[in-house]
Symmetry: C2
Subunit: 331 residues, 2 copies
């Protein structure tokens, strides 16, 4: 299959290319694309170096799968063009996620939605993916009514420049020097920022709305209620979430363990065990730990959910969707 990656020089784009290689995706030709600014850079793939080309209509000719990770504006413009050239676009931006004609897919959760695409399939937001991977199997048996998620999101979700800003901010602080942030509104080193994406007049941030709307769409569960506060923390890679999930029926810890231990993509940690983002970085799994009966809410479990935001939260999920679509093509 001819595979284009738009945004090939970004953190997620690079991870997409790495995942394609690791999972032996049947790539006959890889076409790394980016803005004019990054054209000419070299990308490693299967031991060869491939030159990044500037995105254009011509670049999508004959492409089977186009993995997009270049921001919403770029996606809005180029996804319809790539699709009209016959490619299946798997888009990691927020541009198409809530479009009713575009499936929003987590392969472990709603694979069949991917089959009804019209050329564009959306990859959910990183923070939503790991919450829904953990909650969906429990929802199927016990009917999720409500969940609250407070997130601890790493800076790699923002991009390369945020990783640099984190280190700069930390070094300045250690040296007692003032620091003027450019990526974030305030210094992120030795700090936490409850502010991911713009906040609207209701006081809710874009990242918080995504948790609500994307979860409902992926689970086909439009009465699901969600509370959410999303927070950036000085971690490089790996998002963590403190989740309280309330179900229609009482669920025991043993039932939760049993369901999650068979859930694809999940590693359940029993008892008081948990994992931290520093440990989860580079892994493909969604780790669910510290599962306990919630102290304050009936029929509810508390849990601590960690996953690598660049892998399952972005690149891996996109490549898994590509696998779904291509396996259908084989059939």
């Amino acid at each position: 299959m001819k595979v284009a990656v738009l945004g090939a020089t970004g953190l997620v784009g690079q991870e997409m290319i790495k995942v394609l290689e690791e999972r032996n995706f049947p790539v006959t030709e890889l076409i790394p694309l980016a803005s004019g600014k990054s054209a000419g850079k070299l990308i490693d793939f299967r031991g060869a170096q491939i030159e990044v080309r500037e995105v254009s209509r011509e670049a999508f000719q004959g492409v089977d799968i186009a993995l997009f990770s270049a921001g919403a504006d770029v996606s809005e413009k180029w996804a319809p063009i790539a699709a009209s050239c016959g490619a299946v676009v798997i888009d990691n931006s927020s541009a198409w996620r809530m479009n009713p004609k575009v499936p929003l897919v987590i392969p472990e959760v709603n694979p069949s939605d991917a089959m009804h695409h019209r050329g564009i399939i959306a990859n959910p937001n990183c923070a939503t993916i790991q919450a829904v991977v953990a909650l969906a199997p429990l929802h199927r048996r016990f009917c999720l009514e409500y969940f609250s998620a407070v997130t601890f999101q790493s800076v790699s979700g923002t991009g390369k420049e945020a990783l640099t800003e984190l280190d700069d901010s930390i070094r300045s602080n250690l040296e007692g020097k003032p620091f003027k942030p450019e990526v974030y509104p305030l210094p992120i080193g030795f700090n936490v920022l409850p502010h991911i994406g713009p906040m609207d007049e209701s006081g809710v941030s874009e990242e918080e709305w995504k948790m609500l709307h994307e979860s409902r769409k992926i689970l086909h569960h439009h009465r699901l209620q969600v509370s959410c506060t999303t927070v950036r923390v000085p971690v490089r890679r790996g998002h963590s979430e403190a989740i309280v999930a309330q179900f229609g029926e009482h669920i025991t810890l043993e039932e939760a363990y049993a369901i999650l231990s068979e859930a694809p993509g999940v590693e359940v940690m029993t008892g008081n065990n948990y994992i931290t983002p520093l440990q989860a970085a580079g892994s493909d799994l969604v780790y669910v730990g510290r599962i306990r009966y919630d102290m304050g809410m009936p029929r509810a479990l508390s849990m601590w959910v960690v996953s690598d935001n660049l892998r399952k939260g972005a690149a891996l999920n996109a490549v898994q969707i590509a696998e779904l679509v291509s396996s259908k093509a084989d059939v």
Copy 2:
């Protein structure tokens, strides 16, 4: 008044001495006390240097107020001794907080409880104080039924050695060297740890139980329901909390702003404004920002609450209790 400070060389003890000086507490003699290990060290107070003495029964003779911040074991042993010497002990450890004969006091919330002491008054846990300072004024008007709190707690809550470990852990990481933590179970630099205090067989940590039990006791509200996950973050000073508070009646944002703008010890931030721990460090206030109607819960507000854990979360609250007790003595 003759004032003893037990744990005078610790982070909170030093802050207590600083607060006594800043607030012009009527100290006629300051007696800094500590374990034998720290005896002989010098403490600055009002331009003089005072030698730290080893704690002993004799040290409490004639003492009016004894501020304790030396851990639960030390408190269990020495608080009754100090009280039997006639001192009023204001204890920052967890040793006496849930003892029904010991008042647990936040001066802005339940000052009258302090008047019924039998020689020992307990200072609540840092994470609880800031949540309750923010919620109590709203509770009085709208009856708080439930709240969930997910905390982002700074390492200074653990003590001096944790501040050193944070810096060491960060420096090792920046230099690409391995790091073996001693204070925390895992590296805290570039990481978050959902683990404050031991967890029991129910999976709940000590810090999480404190949020429930201390809130109920301070508010005299034993049907209050609380969900809580407490998390350590790589921040030096200042705790942050993502809170969802559900009330018996509907409460508007305008009502919340009006109540909180008159609440003692609170700075309310309207609209989408918020403060971060790096900004709140060194301040005496509890900052309440990002107040919004919760997305997923009826009659509920979401908010972001930040305060300096060593000031209002510990030393300041203790000295305010001392002020309460001493003003009563004047009457």
